[in-house]
């Protein structure tokens, strides 16, 4: 290679490097606030955002591992509040790793939800399958609390709602699921898990002062056209999980034959759940059929909700009464959740969506003139089959 060519190559490479180094937004990791979870409240006409961020500093207890810190910002919009964090801390908020967003009562009960969530739906970095949940109270306080098992509240919440999905009756609600279910869909309804926090003790160490406790999630908030419609809990909540999501719930039912050998109650879990929902529409009559086939067995130690696969059948007998009682319990829960949706006038079982999927535009034309038909003209037919 001639000297001239070498000089030419060096010049080209130099120019390209100069362009690259001056044109990219290079932010060192220490200058980034990597948000793993955030709580959002609306106080005095302003959004308060509390973010749990990964700290670049190593934990003093276990060197080499990262810790999390909590920082907050205030603004007229959520974007402003994040900008406030940037201004106050000098760290650029980074949403790409966020695994949970908690919306306080002041937001989810009183605001049209597509507005506060629009920042996340428009963001290219924010994951669409991030867990969005409502918090019964002040979300910012929850994000600054810790749990005894998992010190990070964001990871604890993510584990609670997503990680334990098949072992509990908690339905999973993500950003895109919530938004898309209410957008251009005739049911116009969505749901979000409602999280509560029960404080155990106040922790006062050298660095921080925070509350330790535990989160739980035993209800969902349902929305119509992004507005809060009500909270579904108890049997209605379990019924919703049964017919909507891949949730598996344990049941304790009467075991009439248990008698002296076994306790009079039997605890059963679910091996498989097969769900078949169908709608029939004729004139003004709509029939909503839910066929639910459950294969159950007694739960062993270390089992809740969904039973482990490929386990040999237990020698413990399951009496027919257990199957019948489980069937009756499941039927009751499904009926209750349906009745509650009628009461709330919120189609969270998505009957209207199913009708649209089956009958197309014909249903849309009908529903314009009969907006309450899914609450008034529907006959529910629940067929539950429980086998071992």
């Amino acid at each position: 290679m001639s000297a001239l060519k070498r000089i030419g190559i060096i010049l080209i490479v130099g120019t390209v490097l100069a362009l690259i180094s001056s044109s990219f937004l290079v932010v060192p990791i220490s200058k980034r606030a990597i948000i793993v979870g955030m709580g959002i409240d609306y106080v005095d006409n302003q959004y308060v955002v509390m973010c749990e961020v990964l700290s670049a500093e190593s934990s003093s207890d276990t060197p080499g591992t990262s810790t999390t810190i909590v920082i907050s910002g205030v603004g007229e919009t959520i974007t402003d509040a994040l900008e406030d964090i940037h201004v106050k801390t000098g760290q650029l908020p980074s949403l790409g790793q966020c695994c949970v967003v908690l919306l306080g009562e002041s937001i989810y009960k009183y605001q049209q939800m597509n507005l506060p969530l629009s920042l996340f739906t428009h963001s290219v970095a924010f994951k669409d399958n991030t867990v969005i949940a409502c918090f019964d109270g002040n979300a910012c306080q929850a994000i600054s609390a810790t749990t005894a098992v998992t010190p990070s509240p964001s990871f604890a919440l993510s584990q609670l709602i997503q990680g334990s999905q098949q072992r509990t009756s908690i339905p999973k609600s993500t950003l895109i699921k919530f938004i898309s279910k209410q957008h251009d869909n005739p049911s116009m309804s969505g749901y979000l898990s409602v999280v509560t926090f029960t404080p155990d003790q106040q922790i006062n160490d050298d660095k921080t002062k925070h509350t330790q406790g535990y989160f739980d999630c035993k209800s969902i908030a349902v929305f119509t056209d992004y507005m809060y419609a009500g909270t579904v809990s108890g049997d209605e909540y379990h019924g919703f999980g049964l017919v909507t999501d891949k949730t598996f719930h344990s049941y304790i039912v009467n075991d009439e034959q248990g008698g002296s050998v076994f306790p009079p109650k039997a605890s059963v879990g679910i091996f498989t759940k097969r769900l078949n929902k169908d709608v029939e529409w004729q004139g003004q009559s709509i029939t909503f059929t839910i066929k639910c086939n459950l294969r159950i067995d007694r739960t062993n130690t270390d089992e809740t909700g969904k039973l482990f696969k490929f386990i040999n059948k237990s020698t413990l007998p399951i009496d027919n009464s257990v199957l019948v009682n489980t069937r009756d319990r499941v039927t009751e829960q499904i009926n209750k959740t349906y009745q509650f949706s009628q009461q709330l006038k919120c189609d969270y079982l998505e009957i209207s969506n199913m009708l649209y999927q089956k009958y197309g535009s014909e249903w849309l034309d009908y529903v314009i003139n009969h907006p309450n038909s899914v609450f008034e003209d529907v006959t529910l037919d629940v067929q539950v089959e429980v086998t071992r």
Partner: protein, 402 residues
Amino acid sequence: MIGDNNIKIKQLMLLIILIIPGGKYLSLPIVMARGIGRDSPYACLILFAIDLLMLLCIVWALNLNTYRKSVYEIISSTLSPIVAKIIMGIFALFLLVRLSYLMVYSIDIFSSTFSIKTNWLAFIIPVAIAVIFMISRGMTAVARLAQILFAFIIIAQLTMLILSIPQTDIGNLQPVLDKGIGGVLRKLPDYTLWYGDCLILLFFADCIPKNEEKYGILVAGFGISAAICIGLSVVYIGLFGSYAKYNNLAMSKVSQFIIQQTTLGRLDWLMLVIWSVSVLIKIVMFSFCCMRSINHILNITTQIGKYISLIAVMVIIVVLPLLTDVKQLVSDAFSTGWGKYVFWVCQYLLPPLLPLLVCRTNKREQADNNIILNSKSKLKKLVDGDAQQQTNMADSIMRGQP
């Protein structure tokens, strides 16, 4: 000096599998969802079926092309050099439009994944240099590179597809064809621009070794890539439902769903990076074909001339987004506008005609060969006759006869 461009059919098959989904999945499902809605996978299926017919014609033509003539030579010898140059011009424009669009969306995926604000020049100049370098090493080297990276890219692509499936809601694809098939068919012409990737095979008509005959595997390769594209389109609509039209980049959106546990970090970014290599290979292939079209139009045969035409292609791609909004231009002029009808000449008129043109070229070639053979034999006879006469003369001189 531009390297060897010979490519085996098996390598071409791998390239087809890589380049058809590569790039097509940057934005196409979103663009189609905006126009056709939840029925867009069916539109995708129909357009691939049409492409398959075109591919069968191209494969037939390649099979007939025993003299390994280039597509320019075939058209030039059968129709006319002017027609050949016009068709090459359309090809060049088609490839330039597709290239510009690919590049613009590549920077979008780079921005959304790695750097929030990416400077166009700082992004595109290294890419352009890489493309020039790869083409300068020859298509044989690019095909070898594709062979080496094939498994990694396909694994990344299938990972993004398969791991997202559990989160899809198949109900989002219903009602099926609510407005009838007519509604989809009426919209189809607006999306033809994004298809016809198999046309690049025409530019390798003279690069396939003469002993290669198994052209059927090209159709198999096309089938695999079409299945991946349709699968991704179904998954995308299944994931986003009525919200599908509001996104910008389909692949970066779908890839987010490969991890259900959000606390596990961003494995999707790793998959996306590996998959992006297929987009780069597609850019290289399109640039090479565009360069060849320009070379045919301007009768460029020298090495330096080829480099200049390649650099010219890159300069157009680099400068165009600085002058205008490429996405809007492509959408208004070439996707929904008049431009698509011009491209149909290459996409849907030329391939069915090609086997016929190749047959005519073969006949001419055969006739030319016969003429040459006859001329040679006559010449040989003449030469032999002359030699006999001269020998006789020499004999008579030796014998002392006049």
